[in-house]
Symmetry: C2
Subunit: 122 residues, 2 copies
């Protein structure tokens, strides 16, 4: 069952509103990684990366386990699907809006290039 | 052209991380509305709703025009499509994860119900 509670969507969209957190998710889409591995590409402090990981974990976008002293993180798909499902409700809206724009541009372009158009002044 | 710059995605996802702002977008999907109409369903102050509208406008999720003294707002589709496109990259990931879960649950359920299973102790 998809749990699309408002609170869940709040925390998921908030977590996605940061480029470092989105980059962490992109890295984890390729497989499990340790905190050190995740921090490597970013020129930010370990406490800063830990804070990002806590935000992602709070949104249930990542799961973590311990192997000895190493924390390993992996991507959890469900909340991403919930966010996508919410946005999907608007697909019809944006498709209609883009279709209307295409029609308008097509009509404008035809008018501009019609040599028989009597309104053209050369 | 889809402009999926990190900054654009930051402001869009941040704007979506609030239930009042999502509700405003849901209302605007049905058509243009004034600030007063948008404020009506919410038990929050006019300055508070104005602040939400500014966040949505900053993310380019809504557009506004003036008709006399009335401000009218409408939904802009493009940033929603950009957010959906970003999430869409993960579709394959969540579908694989859900397929794996389905297979596991199916196998577990078959094992639990197999009367010939020699490991069963009755």
């Amino acid at each position: 069952m998809v749990n699309d509670s408002p609170e869940q969507l709040n925390t998921v969209f908030f977590a996605l509103a940061d480029p470092t957190r989105r980059a962490i998710l992109e890295r984890l889409a390729h497989g499990e990684a340790s905190g050190t591995e995740l921090a490597r590409p970013f020129s930010i402090s370990v406490p800063a990366i830990s804070k990002h990981l806590r935000v992602l974990e709070h949104a249930e976008l990542i799961l973590h386990r311990k192997e000895g002293r190493t924390h390993l993180f992996r991507l959890a798909a469900r909340p991403l699907k919930e966010a996508a499902t919410w946005l999907e409700h608007y697909r019809q809206f944006w498709e209609t809006q883009f279709d209307a724009l295409d029609t308008y541009l097509h009509m404008t372009s035809e008018e501009e290039h019609d040599p028989d158009d009597p309104s053209r002044i050369s």
